[in-house]
Amino acid sequence: MSRVSRRRALTLAGVGAAGLAGAAALTQVKDEPELTTAAAATDAVAFTGAHQAGIVTPAQDRLHFVAFDVVTKDRERLIKLLKDWTAAAARMTAGHDAGAIGAVNGIPEAPPDDTGEAIGLPPSGLTITIGFGPTLFRDASGKDRFGLAAHLPPALEPLPKFTGDTIDDTISGGDIAIQACANDPQVAVHAIRNLARIGMGAVSVRWSQLGFGRTSSTSTGQATPRNLFGFKDGTRNLKAEETDLLREHLWVQPGDGPDWLAGGSYLVTRKIRMLIETWDRSPLAEQEMIIGRTKGTGAPMGMTGEFDEVDFDSVGADGQPLLATTSHVRLAHPQSNNGARMLRRGYNFVDGSDGLGRLNAGLFFIAYQRDPRKAFIPVQRSLAANDEMNEYVRHVSTGIFACPPGVPTDGDFWGGALFA
């Protein structure tokens, strides 16, 4: 019998060396994943580790994000699903089929345990990252759904309504979120599709989002990309190499809350529709004033280089600050927010058009942080109240999830400590 698998297809394609490197990476269990070595875009990223991959992992080019409602009432079934998911995620991130049999090696009468669209594709830097929403712990009426209510982290509260929010509840929230990032969109979609298939009957897809063109760099080795406003985004992002800052601002520390979340992080998602057409009609000077950076180099207003320190104080000939008081950079800067930092990991999206001749486009904002009460929430409050950019954006979806620490060894599963 001729057996075809993703791994075999890889070897056949002559990418054997990359596959070996991926396999070696799999066995690494370190406090911080190894990042400084420039991996090829097709390589595997280690699935196991102290933290989940897909957070400080150098941001890949593509995203498929999904939020699930848990439909089973059975705690054991939920645990089994998390175990099945963990095994499938470990396989797929290593470039294998989702199931042990594979897409085309099973008996003809049974549906395959992998959907097949990734046959022949390399691991492509796939990371799969899970988070638990507040509604997994208690439902809307306050009922403890799975005996988890005592483990609800105090910071895992639904985000408040911010001024100007136009949130659509049907594309917000969820009991469980999964972020799949890869350098090949087909690999990211394959991952989410197979996890949704495996979850059938236990979970139901609530909403999902495709993204392209990372809008942040999460490593000093990466160039700063541009968002759909055409500006560099994420210049001052937390970076994987800044381990002290990561400890202070990104990873939940022992004592912050329930033990199960130590080594994890809080994930905030916001789908931000950009009013592209009106933005494109605005003068360059206005665009730069609103952002607070030049459009070309990305230098802060009044400075010359992208990574120059932001100058809050200098004024121009008109006596006004060079960096406008309502500019995005000023309002979002740590100095304006008691030092608050986040690791942003967003993606551009274009969901076709809206029937009114406009692109349905924008930024799917993703940020990881140690405590949203000290990071995203105060920063967004300030932005919602004062940011000149609000004229050109609409926040249409919102989500908050607690991402558990990494899966340390084979045999453990996502959220194992939470369900212990």
Binding site: V71, E109, A110, P111, M200, G201, S204
Partner: protein, 379 residues
């Protein structure tokens, strides 16, 4: 309607052939049970069965409907596997039902109004019966399902005849009432109907899938005339053709020998029908009676699984348990939308209602998709 070739495809499978080869395993006795037919007095609220203990072999039930509602009578084995049934017993009418029962415990049921679990009673069949060999168990499954198909096709022809008569008489209200009832029997066995090429699209095709050169006809054309155009004065020829086509498919379906694998795939195909056409309201877009079809598809799926039940129990008891649970969940989710003897209109359901139904169908369809592999497995 959805073109489906999986059933036709598996007909050629090795399983079908091995079954044909051992077709002699079916032990048939011609002897009617001693003491003559068992009288069943059915009313709208009761179901008196003359005997609750019979000998193994053939029993004859004589059902008389003394109620105001149309009723049905069933003999069920464990897990509501239909051993025999008679549909559509109008008030005042009597029907005889012949059923061959091996020793075991069964349930009888009258279903006034043709809905729900019915009014149940115990039936014990005593006597010796040799345990079925594995192949015989598979054969028994297809025989059991063939009985189901026969009962459904009989009712389909009868109700379509009534529907056509109402349409041709220009009785809009009567035809509207009969439309979802006649379709129920169609939707329960649709995967069988789909085996026969052009007939399925002719009977059940929707306007946008009508092939070039063919005229939009069948149930949905009349549905459009009834609900959208509010004019059935020109519908007569379409109605006549519908009845001709239904009669043809009834003859063909009754003659068709199905394989166990076809039952398994049919059970799944019916749920796919629900997921693809009924949840979305595409199927009955003028009448919005999609939930009738939804329920009928689930009934049909359940019947196919029930026929396979002894085989599945033997090979994968855990799967049977899961299927029972998920079928019950679907029934419970659907039951919220009952309206009288029928169902709410699709347009009366909220998005949240539809999501709940969709989740329940997905939760059932996943384990059902595993059944074919279990059936195919060599014992």
């Amino acid at each position: 309607m959805r073109p489906s070739h999986i059933l036709a495809f598996v007909t050629a499978g090795s399983l079908g052939m091995s079954l044909a080869a051992c077709g002699g395993g079916d032990a048939v006795t011609d002897t009617a049970a001693a003491g003559g037919p068992i009288a069943v007095k059915a009313t709208d609220t009761s179901c008196e069965v003359g005997k609750t203990q019979v000998d193994a072999g053939t029993s004859i039930f004589a059902i008389t409907n003394g109620g105001q509602k149309v009723t049905e009578f069933y003999v069920y084995a464990a897990g509501d596997r239909v051993m025999a049934e008679v549909e559509n017993i109008a008030p005042g009418l009597s029907r005889n039902l012949h059923v061959e029962l091996p020793a075991g415990t069964y349930e009888t049921a009258c279903k006034p109004g043709m809905i729900g679990k019915g009014i149940r009673g115990q039936l014990t069949v005593s006597g010796s019966a040799a345990p079925l060999t594995d192949d015989a168990a598979l054969l028994a499954a297809t025989d059991s399902y063939s009985r189901y198909v026969k009962s459904q096709t009989a009712a389909l022809e009868e109700k379509t005849t009534e529907f056509v008569k109402l349409v041709k008489a220009g009785d809009v209200a009567g035809a509207k009432t009969m439309y979802p009832i006649a379709r129920t029997y169609w939707e329960r066995i649709e995967p069988v109907a789909e085996i026969f090429g052009d007939l399925d699209p002719r009977i059940d095709g929707r306007e946008e899938v009508t092939e070039e050169g063919l005229k939009f006809g069948g149930f949905h054309k009349i549905e459009q005339d009834l609900w959208q155009k509010n004019d059935i004065s020109q519908s007569g020829p379409v109605a006549d053709q519908l009845l001709t086509d239904v009669k043809e498919i009834v003859t063909k379906a009754n003659a068709e020998k199905l394989s166990p694998l076809q039952l398994a795939n049919g059970a799944k195909a019916l749920l796919d029908e629900v997921a693809a056409g009924k949840i979305t309201g595409e199927e009955d877009r003028y009448s919005h009676t999609d939930l009738w079809d939804f329920n009928a598809n689930v009934d049909g799926s359940k019947a196919a699984i029930a026929a396979l039940r002894p085989v599945l129990e033997e090979r994968d008891a855990a799967l049977v348990k899961t299927l029972d649970t998920e079928f019950a969940n679907v029934d419970a989710a659907l039951a919220k939308h009952r309206a009288g003897d029928g169902w709410k209109l699709h347009t009366d359901l909220s998005q949240a209602d539809l999501k709940e139904l969709s989740d329940a169908i997905n939760a059932l369809a996943e384990p059902i998709s595993q059944v074919a592999a279990v059936v195919a497995k060599k014992a």
